[in-house]
């Protein structure tokens, strides 16, 4: 004899923004996503600087002076930290997105990521040297 079965599935709500705090891995993800604010913000700063460069010597030098203000220095330090976090997360994830199969086996993640780190280091030192930073 068939008994009537009553189904009433219960839907659990996901908190709109609160889910980020549910687990450290979501916090790390959000930190990585937030790097865009500093990288985008810094690039806009560069655009302003280029504008001042085009406006002439006086304007450009005023821009350099404004860079030396405490809020600017704080922003730079924060931006540097977040930019590096972006670089590290990006290079570590690159081997996942671009696997390289040689023969049967895949190139180890560490090799692909390592090559990116090496290029990053060389490029950075090269740019610092060529711009006369040291």
């Amino acid at each position: 004899m068939a008994e009537k079965m009553s189904r009433k599935p219960y839907h659990r709500e996901v908190p709109k923004a609160g889910w980020v705090f549910d687990h450290p891995r979501y916090m790390r993800y959000m930190a990585r996503e937030f790097t865009c604010l500093f990288i985008g913000g810094y690039t806009l700063l560069l655009v302003i600087g280029i504008g001042r460069l085009a406006a002439g010597r006086a304007d450009y030098e005023a821009f350099l002076e404004a860079l030396a203000s405490p809020p600017s220095i704080v922003f730079h330090v924060l931006a540097l930290g977040f930019a590096i976090y972006h670089s590290v997360t990006w290079f570590n994830l690159t081997p996942k997105a671009l696997p390289v199969q040689i023969g049967e086996d895949f190139m180890p993640d560490k090799v692909i990521a390592g090559a990116h780190y090496a290029v990053w280091a060389l490029l950075s030192v090269g740019i610092l040297f060529l711009s006369g930073a040291f």
Partner: protein, 113 residues
Amino acid sequence: MAKSNKPLVWGPFAAGGTITAFVTPVLILLTLLAALGHAPDLLAFDRLHAFASHWLAKLAIVGVVFLSLWSAAHRLRITCYDLGVRADTLVATVLYIVAIVATIATVIFLWGI
């Protein structure tokens, strides 16, 4: 379901993410050094002006600026969605327009150098 046109915006995002990963930290370091009183030679007005006069430098600057701003805009768009802002089309339009306008501004500035 129709295939998405997301690749149109994702391609520059991926390129921009790669570029910013490689060069943004060292760029920040350059202006940070200037802020701390040890400005690299390149940031002196005459040298920077001369550098930016070259067409190749202009091309590179516009390319780096556009891709950096685009990837930041795209990531911010996704983040807004993740944090519950459902008006995705509006957010995307505003953010991408900011990236495009700032790039056009850069082109105009460099035109005058």
